[in-house]
Symmetry: D2
Subunit: 354 residues, 4 copies
């Protein structure tokens, strides 16, 4: 176990592309960290991200950054294919590591990182940003507190006009969000055990642009994920059905992101009802009260950065540690195999889901 | 071929349960029909449906109704399991037949009806009500006119707090709507060729209360249907993605049921874009104009009743004739088989889909 | 006081135009009434409303209808200018009277009816339909129970593409809905005391097509009503702000018509807050929980018809009796005067608001 | 006329409270400006705004900042009561001036600034931020191009839980947004000529927390503004009705901020329609197509900052110059007088509205 770094923790961000600037901004805004470097092969790009008024240093040389003894932690926002070498170099230099999702390009690569960090007693954290939104943190709490009762189904839709990626399909691009959220909010006793995936290319992109994942959970429940790059409307909604209540999360409705419905259906079969009752029920919209809890708006990345600091300082695993990243990779790989096999249900390896 | 019945066409409604009253009201409102009987084993129920001010006769005896020479057509709104005997009796009595969806309890039973009607030159029509909504009629036209370009994907969600049926699962209860719509709007050159189904019970109902159907279409496109009895929110939305435009149908938004979006995504891969462009696109909601065409509100059942009269009078098949009912049954049966086999993709019988 | 009529109460509907058919349908559906006549100068129109299957009689002769001893009650859905003679004739024939809103064309005419009914001990009821919606009934209860605390403001918007009426302006066409609701839900201790109206014609219709009413209430609160025939979007929303909670009624959102918000603002002035707190509050959407109570869907007219039966049977005033109709007329007349005077605040006559 | 400053233009931001940080961020992001100072009486607050990584200087001394010859322009985000002395000092030091809305605490004070800037040939610009949103820029264009036809009415709602200000009422806090937008989008031939204001305190704040402004426009049209600090729901919607089309701006719906409706109502009176037509129209939601134009998302402040640079560089008035700020102040002052007089319609001074 490394000794604790002095506060604030010196940190370097690697990668000044799409996501890096968000990390830069949030590390700068955190009193727990001191941002020392922004590292990118394209130093001009890095300088543009920092702007004309910054005292943070830029470098194209990762070794230079890792050699700085004032750097105790790094945050990696480079393409997934580079996560293994970059993160491994950082760990070997004794730095704590935060990696953008997915943890690595494959389960095997991710495992190397988890084991290396374990051996060295360093924090390895995966930036599953959505898990740190006020809404998802609340969902996790509601499930943990039994407010929903036993989980029956989870239906997640994440669709919008998207950038058709050149190297990965829509599952690897978008589903890590849903899978990491699922991993985060499920009670410890419930685990995904198998996955099937269907998809279509459609526009001749050479990879799935629309995809559906169906997961069997260990308690008999079902989870379903719809990811789509080709939708003109943006939808980010999840419905989580439990035996007591059902939760609807509409991430694009800031005034009512979470709606908690009292149970709206009974097992009583319709044949036991009179016709008019039956008709009333069918035209009704719902039968129980709904509560929309107030959520304090807070940028998820700010909370994620705080958790990184907490994990480093206490030496305890982050809420979204390397192992959670591995579980997401296990499902992604099984989903890819299912997709290739035309939708076969693929069992997940229990040891990989621990 | 029977001779044309005199106008208005004498009609009898069989079944005074959930759906029958809607048929009664619409036949009464149509000048093409003269409603003569409401037939139900429970005559008090039938009388309640007609109310205290009606001149329409009630009967518990189907034979009595079918023996009435002024009855030229019947409309059957009894449970699916009774469709075969009731409809067959009507056909054998020389009556035109309209059947509530699904056409019959099985493909084989439905086929008997189609063949009997064919032999006798009688109209056999399936009450796929949604096909006659102004929205679906417009969708069909838009696809036929090539306004969407080539079809890429169709995603349909039909969820709400539902009545958990005692005899059928959520697929047989709700998916006939989506499947008949799909059958109705697809251009003739595109056909479903296989289906996979996943589902979950959850509440111990003894049958699937949540289910997902994935259909492979003959042109490589995908269709996906989510049906759910356990959702506290009611959603009836379909997204139909084409090569030129994408259509969103939100049936619960009467002021904007149809939204037609100019293409919002190009195949250009994000690596060709600068970071800031990429970021702009990812935070943008859409990139093309949207048109929401005006739709004249008209009750679908009124249009369906008109189409029944037209088919009877002209001796030509109804838009939703018995064969369309057979195609829906073929898919439902394959979906049930897939569900039982854990989600296997089941090929549809080409001859059944003709 | 007349003796109670035998059950069911024989009723005649006068007027087969826009609203009459709804009354016909609901009286037919009520076991408390027996619908005997539909009376209209145009008997063909009346017959079309009843359809080809009805045993209800039609007549163009009001006297014939009023002479029928089996008719104990009438419901009048003729233009407002005819309410006085038609309703007066009915009262003088000893019939209970229900009148479509507004009660009469002027306060003076309405008063004649109220006094005549009073002298004869007959029920005079105004068909303020909205008051009988499940939502408004609940709002009334919430205010009565003090769930909102003291009333601070009420803001009502009722706009849509409307028919430009030839004889009345948008205030007389639409505001009776809002004013009758206001009259219905206000606690007895709070009364409107003055009104100002602003409006615009715009399209050369010769009368106001857009109008705003501002009412001063006796407790210092404000009520504001926006009515508009020229809006392409339909909005029917009211916000009712109280000292404890605020209620939002969105009549076009059937899944969430009522939303009850915990108080979202404190008098604490922003100068006492730190900048970041202030910024957080300003970007927040709300700070308290929200509850959307379940409402049983029930057609308002059905409940209104029940209330008419109750009032007749018990001899007690209806919830929306003639006096409530008078109070609405007093405000409408004052609003017209204000409009003519360019928006002057016009005091209401206290004796007319009793 | 001053000579043009060298590019980039040296700028100082005065005020590090609520709005200042937004100006700091946008000046830093603009290549047309070089941010040199952030000036605030509380230098610690100013330093917090800049963060730990900035090279921008802070100062509590306005004179020091104005004495810097590299500062050619200032941006003032201090309370309205201080705008006169701060902006006057800047103008007298030869600096171009951007002032947060409202331009000054009174019309008279604003006029002093406009005249001083005029005498010195300096840019005086008012930060009417909303005018620079893509939506408002498009609305302005649509009105200028005659796409809406002649203006009939404008209805603006800006309500939310707000901070109850200690020194100003809700009209002075929120209505400057709506009034500056109105000023910005109105065609040059149409001007407000009178205003009436109604309001209520309710919560004992000592000033209006809910208010309604009604403006008469020179072409007979009406504009109405609802501002409210006490609404639990956030609404920022404007409806702009014209003789050809009607526009709805919903600023909180990022996927459809602007909706342009074909005319949905004709002057044809309902008496000319048959009953069924009339009923159809009344239950219809709209009768024409709707187009929702695509808008490129761009931060309004970025565009505002660009316009400030353009005005300075070219020596021509900014789109929201001092005179537009004066017109807003004239209306605010008249509204305050109307509020004090119980809602009297107050004529605006034509010379002040030029």
């Amino acid at each position: 176990m490394n000794s604790q770094p002095p506060a604030p923790i010196g940190v370097a961000v690697v990668g000044a592309g799409y996501w890096g600037p968000n990390l830069v901004r949030n590390f700068q805004g955190s009193s727990a960290f001191h941002l020392r470097w922004l590292c990118d092969l394209d130093v001009e790009r890095a300088q543009r991200v920092l702007g004309d008024y910054s005292t943070v240093r830029v470098s194209a040389d990762l070794d230079e950054v890792l050699a700085d003894p004032d750097v105790h932690a790094v945050a990696i926002a480079t393409p997934a294919g580079t996560h293994l070498p970059v993160a491994m170099a950082a760990l070997r230099a004794g730095k704590h590591v935060l990696v953008e999702k997915p943890l690595a390009a494959t389960y095997a690569e991710g495992l190397e990182l988890v084991e290396e960090a374990g051996r060295r007693g360093l924090t390895l954290m995966c930036d599953h940003t959505y898990c740190y939104t006020p809404a998802v943190l609340r969902i996790r709490q509601l499930l943990a507190d039994g407010e929903l009762g036993e989980l029956h189904f989870l239906d997640s839709v994440r669709i919008n006009l998207g950038l058709v990626q050149r190297d990965i399909d829509v599952i690897w691009d978008l589903a890590p969000h849903d899978l990491s959220i699922l991993d985060f909010v499920l009670p410890p006793s419930v685990r995904p055990i198998a996955v099937a995936a269907h998809g279509a290319d459609g526009i001749g992109a050479g990879r799935a642009c629309v995809a559906y994942l169906t997961l069997q959970l260990s308690n008999g429940a079902i989870a379903h994920i719809h990811v789509n790059w080709l939708s003109p409307v943006k939808v980010r909604t999840a419905i989580i059905g439990g035996s007591k209540r059902t939760l609807v999360w509409d991430d694009l409705n800031p005034s009512q992101r979470l709606s908690l419905y009292d149970r709206g259906v009974d097992v009583a079969s319709p044949e036991e009802l009179e016709d008019e009752q039956r008709r009333d029920i069918l035209v009704s919209y719902r039968s129980g009260d709904m509560v929309a809890p107030a959520l304090t708006e807070r940028e998820a990345l700010r909370t994620m950065v705080d958790e990184y600091a907490r994990a480093i300082t206490t030496g305890t695993p982050a809420l979204t540690d390397g192992r959670s990243g591995l579980r997401v990779l296990e499902i992604l790989q099984a989903a890819s195999r299912s997709l290739a096999e035309g939708g076969t249900m693929i069992k997940l390896d229990e040891r990989h889901m621990a």
